[in-house]
Symmetry: C2
Subunit: 132 residues, 2 copies
Amino acid sequence: MAGLPELGLEQFDPESARCQGVSGVLQRVGDKWSVLIVAILAAGPRRFSQLRREIPAISQRMLTLTLRSLERDGLVSRTVTPTIPPRVDYELTTLGHSLQQPVLALAQWAVAHLPEIAEAQARFDTTRERPR
Amino acid sequence: MAGLPELGLEQFDPESARCQGVSGVLQRVGDKWSVLIVAILAAGPRRFSQLRREIPAISQRMLTLTLRSLERDGLVSRTVTPTIPPRVDYELTTLGHSLQQPVLALAQWAVAHLPEIAEAQARFDTTRERPR
DNA sequence: CTGTATCCGCTGAGATACTG
DNA sequence: CAGTATCTCAGCGGATACAG
């Protein structure tokens, strides 16, 4: 958070529901797969196995868990079609779509400043160590 | 990320340096203490022990580690004054300040949609389980 | 096809004690 | 004051196997 005042967090209180909630959202953004899945679903609904193919690096377990969390938070809707074999479609909710603007802004900041960050890291690493 | 195209991530490649970098930034934002520390430093430089007092819940170890990471990424500058006892001031860099806009946007999104999220979670939890 | 259940190693993070 | 060094434990996340 930048200005805590702007958020109604004048004096930091880690116990307040508001702070907990904000922190929760930030952690969801920081989690390994959530943002990527939301980004993919932003282009349209996908079936479970489509997502697996589009994200080869994810394990089945983590795909399931991540989708469950997103569903629980109301960002993604899950629609089961009980055919045989079964079919499950995942789709971004309105809330899920609304998350995209701020997240995209952050991602663009990241892309824009990647060189600067890499340079700072390189400088730090060479300056401060010869770690063994 | 919302539109991967907008980021130059047309087809997802987890190995690409760009994707790694964006992911790294998102994880820094999601990390437990980084954003809070950046928010506090946004109001002005602080000494190590001032930060400890302003964030009672953080351990000395995590404060040190978090500040080191932020310094490594070029978001925070560390200034040692070798008096006795020593004095160390932490301050946001220009890059650190520039991170605030997108992060604040995200935090404001979170605050705005907190009720909606809580409601979705409650619905999910009551609908899907009586976990024992 | 779409999951759930298990096992398991790695890392994150707290508590505590010690140092310049 | 401002750290570093250990120890420890819990939880994330991968691999694999099984189920509806």
